[in-house]
């Protein structure tokens, strides 16, 4: 019997099922070619290819519709006569069998990549088929998601986006990874699917296929072969938690009735209907970039009025906080010359774009369009600017908004300078919203795109929470709202910490609202303040999380 183990719980909920491991991609041995008997080697390769194809056939049979069609087409590839020809050629060229297979797949991969577009996307399918073929040749299990035919706990060293794309929530009941961190792809995906997940649990390497495990995605505890009584207790508690989530309705409140606005983040028209259907008080972050990216010319004012109008109509009677264009850095515009910036995350992005003539007229057009759309609908429209660093920038933006008839103008706080001087920033505008993702990146000096620094980008970092506390305190003194929009607000425990720090609204992924509302309703404002104090007294994110979980 294996002992209990703990990792970082990143997505709450409990589950009990047998383990099925994600088999790793096999590393091919060094090239030992040429093969003494190329004909026999070719026959071996063909047998392996046939096994891969037959496995795909089986899976196509179990699937239906588009999935079955895709698997069926995939199963033709290992059986493709041209592939066998290429393997034969590579064997004749002196390659060992595995390397001949790699070379043959590589030949078609580059041909598809060269064609570009749809075909280039298929190139990754070939990599998957290649890895499967190599695994069979080496006598290992085929890599990829397991399918034991019953619900299971997926255990892996780490999950790549490609592994998780095919995840079926009807079969996977929880995820456990040996590596990864709280902001890893696995964590974000599990949260969005509502699957319990534990990451950073090296001991999970010892979990074998078929072992029954009890997983708690809140505390990070994993119990192999648990006693039946314990399973029943945990699953009963889980059922109660789910019932509380189902029953969670209405505006956000602490247990003692302190109001906290719960809002959703919105980034595209495609998500509009689903976002509007969520029981929330409105949109806390409406990202407008989708109107500007991937196009040759700027959208016209009329086009913008139409697009904003659709959002305001869907949120009629509720609040919508529009963030003006946040272009530059990783989101360049085709119709704006961003120049050659060695360090675009620290360059002319967000409101800084308005320093240029082109950017300034883009902003004027956008504000004109927002005002026109707001006049036609009954949503309560607020506007805020991204990347504000100084009180002067905040005041200039607010003046610009008011000149166009937009009465409520605010500032995103994502630059540490703006958080440090939040009271002066709030002097010139009406509200502030903390963008914790960028604020974390700038506070910890850790690039958001750099996976190796994931732990520094953890929204539980006490330094980030210090800045949130400063800004919230400034808001309380000025009697102006200071909210949070960013990953931080969608973590139920951290959301309570933010409320304890004095934040007045939380804006998050639509799927996170119910869980945050339910957690908040179990804590008094004094509890939240106590949790916040514990987090601030920690030295790093992991300690803060532990200290608050134990509160």
């Amino acid at each position: 019997m294996t002992a209990e183990m703990t990792g970082i719980g990143v997505s709450p909920g409990a589950a009990y099922a047998p383990v099925a491991r994600l088999a790793p991609v096999p590393a091919p041995p060094a090239d030992t070619g040429p093969e003494p008997d190329p004909a026999a080697a070719l026959a071996r390769a063909k047998t392996a290819l046939e096994a891969v194809a037959a496995d795909l056939d089986d899976r196509a049979e179990a699937a239906s519709g588009t999935t079955a069609d895709i698997l069926d087409a995939q199963s033709m590839m290992p059986r493709d006569p041209a592939l066998a020809d290429q393997i034969e050629k590579a064997l004749a060229g002196g390659r060992s069998t595995p390397h001949a297979v790699i070379e043959a797949y590589g030949f078609f991969r580059s041909a598809l990549e060269a064609a570009g577009g749809y075909l280039a996307e298929r190139a990754a399918d070939l990599d998957d088929l290649r890895d499967r073929t190599i695994a069979v040749l080496l006598g290992r299990p085929m890599p990829g998601l397991p399918d034991p035919g019953h619900p299971f706990v997926l255990v892996a060293k780490d999950l790549a986006p490609a592994d998780t794309a095919a995840l079926d929530p009807a079969k996977v009941v929880a995820i456990v990874t040996e590596q990864g961190g709280p902001t890893s792809h696995t964590a974000i995906l599990a949260k969005s699917m509502g699957l319990p997940a534990v990451v950073a649990c090296p001991a999970a390497a010892a979990l074998a296929d078929g072992t029954e495990v009890l997983v708690d995605g809140g505390t990070g505890l994993i119990v192999p072969d648990p006693e039946p009584g314990r399973v029943r207790r945990v699953l009963d508690a889980e059922a109660r938690r789910n019932a509380a989530l189902e029953a969670s309705r209405g505006p956000g409140r602490t247990a003692d009735g302190y109001a906290v606005q719960l809002l959703v983040n919105l980034g595209s028209q495609a998500d509009l209907a689903a976002a509007a259907a969520v029981d929330s008080e409105g949109v806390g972050l409406f990202r407008t970039e989708f109107l500007f990216l991937d196009r040759e010319t700027a959208p016209t004012v009329d086009e913008q009025v139409e697009a904003y109008g659709q959002v305001f109509a869907a949120f009629s009677g509720r609040k919508v906080v529009v963030r003006t264009l946040d272009a530059g850095a990783d989101k360049p515009l085709a119709f704006v010359d961003h120049g050659d910036e060695p360090n675009p995350a620290l360059g002319v992005r967000g409101i800084r774009l308005a320093r240029t003539d082109a950017g300034s007229s883009l902003l004027d057009d956008q504000l004109t369009a927002i005002a026109a759309a707001a006049a036609k609908h009954s949503a309560e429209v607020w506007v805020m600017a991204p990347m504000v660093a100084t009180p002067g920038e905040a005041a200039a933006f607010a003046d610009r908004c008011r000149a166009r008839g937009l009465p409520t103008a605010g500032t995103m706080i994502e630059v540490p300078a703006a958080a440090l001087r939040a009271s002066r920033v709030l002097d010139g505008c009406d509200f502030a919203s903390l963008g914790t993702n960028d604020l974390g990146q700038y506070t910890l000096a850790a690039d958001r795109m750099n996976g190796a620094l994931a732990e520094l980008l953890d929204p539980w970092q006490p330094a980030l929470l210090d800045l949130v506390s400063l800004a919230a305190e400034a808001g309380r003194e000025a009697e102006k709202p200071v909210g949070v929009c960013g990953e931080a607000a969608s973590d139920p425990l951290l959301a309570c910490v933010l409320v304890g720090l004095g934040v007045t609204s939380l804006s998050m992924a639509p799927g996170a609202v119910a869980a945050v509302r339910a957690e908040l309703s179990t804590r008094t404002l004094a509890d939240c303040a106590g949790m916040a104090a514990r987090a601030l007294h920690s030295d790093d994110a992991a300690e803060a999380r532990r200290a608050v979980a134990a509160y």
């Binding site: 087409a73 033709m76 590839m77 493709d80 006569p81 592939l83 598809l112 064609a115 075909l119």
Partner: protein, 89 residues
């Protein structure tokens, strides 16, 4: 050597499902048929991978060629397949 010149009816071109159906059919026919885009090397019509690398789009003309026993029937069947719009619901 017999030939057929055919314009691809499926709007997505000879990709995805239309390519799969074409290669499957070619594998079931008696003659060894090749398919080429104008001015390019012909490829084995039974090879889905080679067909994909042709990157033939909807409206493109392709040349089917075969010889020997069953050549005419095989070419007719494959030409008819290409002239069917496989995107149509």
């Amino acid at each position: 050597m017999s030939e057929r010149r055919v314009v691809i009816a499926s709007t997505v071109g000879l990709h995805a499902r239309p390519a799969k159906l074409f290669a499957k059919l070619a594998g079931d026919l008696p003659a060894k048929v090749t398919i080429a885009k104008e001015g390019q090397e012909p490829v084995d019509a039974r090879s889905l991978l080679m067909i994909l690398t042709l990157d033939a789009k909807g409206g493109d003309e392709v040349v089917l060629a075969a010889e020997g026993e069953g050549a005419e029937e095989s070419l007719d069947a494959l030409a008819a397949e290409l002239q069917t719009d496989r995107d149509a619901p």
